[in-house]
């Protein structure tokens, strides 16, 4: 089976700074793949290139064999590759339910003019969006807060809202940007379960950028490790935990520490 996403020799340069250098890896369908690495390793840049928020300098990203890099973000989203943001990027003055309803607009069958005149298809869309929003919020355990305004939500719920908005677009691949950051252990475990159920029950392939090592080891099928913009390792959690290069990148080499 061919991989769902192929990252092929992707390089990103900002002036003289190389954020990503010649990165290649594949993501299989229904996989949970984490991209980890120390601060400044180029994880976020890589995600932005996969979702076409920034263009690549060279190389390309393929989704089902079709190039999705160097396009517009909304086109990539329409193909089914959707990213989420960290918690500050939300629709502040919308309620949770409104956000999830608006995020379903790609599923609309009626035209914009149809909505203006209130056509039958538009009415059906509105009903379907509302119904699906309720179902999705139920699935994510967010029904109790569905009428809260987004700006009033605590951090943990904002993360969940970000995922809810992403899921509402009916993605095939969801890119999660640090879904566990700033969470305590219990919240993290809840979120791990949630992400896993997104994959298991909705058939969504998940890629995530994350710092929280225990969570990453728990949730990931495979892990890609970046350091200074280079891919230094790729493998299952246990392989990564025992990889010398990875340990070196995170802890510094023994030689460095004793100053030799």
């Amino acid at each position: 089976m061919s991989p769902l996403i192929q990252v092929k020799n992707v390089t990103k340069k900002y002036g003289g700074l190389t954020a990503n250098n010649d990165i290649s890896f594949d993501v299989a369908e229904n996989e949970i793949l984490s991209v980890i690495g120390p601060n400044g390793a180029g994880k976020s840049t890589l995600f932005k290139m996969i979702s076409s928020f920034v263009p690549t300098t060279s190389g390309e990203v393929l989704y089902r064999g079709e190039r999705i890099s160097n396009l517009k973000p909304h086109i990539v989203a329409r193909k089914g590759v959707v990213r989420t943001f960290q918690e500050t990027t939300i629709f502040k003055s919308m309620t949770v339910r409104e956000s999830v309803v608006v995020a379903q607009h790609l599923r609309a069958k009626a035209s914009l003019a149809g909505y203006f005149w209130g056509s039958k298809a538009a009415k059906e869309d509105v009903d379907a969006f509302g119904k699906y929003a309720d179902e999705l919020l139920e699935f994510l355990g967010m029904s109790p807060i569905s009428n809260e305004q987004a700006s009033n939500l605590p951090q943990g719920s904002l993360r969940a809202l970000g995922i809810a908005i992403g899921l509402a677009t009916d993605p095939k691949v969801l890119l999660l940007d640090e879904p566990f950051a700033g969470m305590n252990h219990d919240e993290t475990m809840q979120m791990v379960d949630l992400v896993r159920s997104v994959r298991d029950e909705r058939g969504v392939t998940v890629m995530l950028v994350e710092h929280d090592m225990p969570a990453v080891m728990n949730i990931s099928d495979r892990i890609v490790v970046l350091n200074f913009g280079e891919k230094i390792a790729e493998g299952t959690p246990s392989e990564i935990q025992n990889n010398e290069k990875v340990i070196e990148a995170y802890l510094g080499s023994v030689d460095d520490e004793i100053g030799m």
């Binding site: 973000p73 943001f85 990027t89 939300i90 629709f91 869309d125 677009t169």
Partner: protein, 325 residues
């Protein structure tokens, strides 16, 4: 989408006041000049509705004067030089303004915040200078003695009477302007409460997130700016027809600023905000006329205080109307 009984009653009262109440009061008091004032308010409110719509996608638009001027000239030229009926030139003026908005919007709508505002501020001046320079606009002399709107009839049934054969054109213009204003705001209300409106709101609050859920933000920006300028063109064309003349100075930078202030004053969160804002601002300025040289000082102080203490506009005062977005 259903309307509550309260909303329907509000609309009913509003229609009663402008079509029956106001004419009765004016007939009783003999203040016929009020027709001209209220007609102006209605037309300025149409242009302000456009500005409000650009606010709705998170852009500060101080360029509506340019599109009003374009609309006024297009209609005047079509009526005077091409001999069109005013009623056909009116939508043509709106469409032409929208077309110009698309061409200008393509490069400038990428800008955000103060940068977009600065560029639009210049637009009005550019439109004025263009009108001065082009041969077709007749330079500084402008276009004057534009004929009054002619009648329209379909299959011999008169739909719109000939304005030049009327005794009271003031009332006719007032009714026309009010109808246009009502159609504009009804369209605006529908737009804001339809999917396009929801997408605009998502863009206003976060463009990045909007594009991540598949919203084609540059397309919607253009569409909205075009609709906004269409309203500006319509308002300007009607104005030219009432004044029966258009000059490069018919709409100036100050007018563009006022269009924006109307929106601020009425409330950016309310569809009917710019309508109220235009009414209050227009009458407020006139009422302060008695203060002579202090007029501007008092006027601006009140504005500053209003924006300071009512940042969400006058309509935020009326509790319970918040759902009437």
């Amino acid at each position: 989408m259903g309307f509550s009984g309260k909303q329907l009653m509000g609309v009913g009262i509003f229609l009663f006041v402008i079509f029956i109440g106001v004419p009765l009061i004016i007939a009783a008091t003999g203040r016929w000049d009020f027709y001209y004032t209220l007609t102006s308010v209605a037309l300025l409110a149409i242009a302000s509705a456009g500005v409000w719509l650009t606010f709705y996608i998170g852009r500060i638009n101080i360029g509506q004067g340019a599109f009003a001027l374009i609309g006024a000239y297009v209609s005047a030229i079509l009526v005077v030089k091409a001999g069109w009926s005013f009623w056909i030139s009116l939508p043509a003026a709106g469409l032409f303004a929208a077309l110009v908005a698309i061409l200008i919007g393509l490069p400038i709508l990428r800008l955000r915040g103060v940068y977009f505002a600065m560029i639009t501020l210049v637009l009005t001046q550019v439109a004025t200078l263009t009108a001065l320079a082009l041969p077709i606009t007749n330079g500084a002399k402008g276009i004057s003695s534009i004929p009054l709107p002619s009648g329209v009839s379909i299959f011999g049934i008169p739909l719109i009477p000939d304005f030049s054969s009327m005794e009271n054109t003031k009332l006719a213009f007032y009714i026309t302007a009010c109808i246009l204003m009502i159609v504009t705001y009804a369209a605006l209300y529908r737009l804001v409460n339809s999917r396009l409106g929801h997408l605009c709101r998502s863009m206003q609050q976060n463009e990045e997130l909007a594009s991540s859920i598949g919203v084609n933000i540059s397309y919607i920006r253009i569409v909205i700016f075009a609709i906004s300028s269409f309203f500006g063109g319509i308002g300007g064309a009607m104005f030219g027809s009432i004044a029966q003349s258009v000059y490069p100075s018919s709409f100036q930078v100050a007018d563009s600023v006022n269009f924006m202030l109307n929106c601020f004053l009425g409330g950016l969160g309310y569809v009917f905000g710019p309508m109220l804002g235009t009414l209050v601002l227009y009458f407020g300025w006139d009422l302060l006329f008695e203060f002579g040289k202090y007029q501007m000082l008092i006027y601006s102080t009140i504005l500053i205080l209003l924006i300071r203490f009512l940042p969400n506009g006058l309509l935020s005062l009326s509790i319970g109307k918040g759902d009437k977005k």
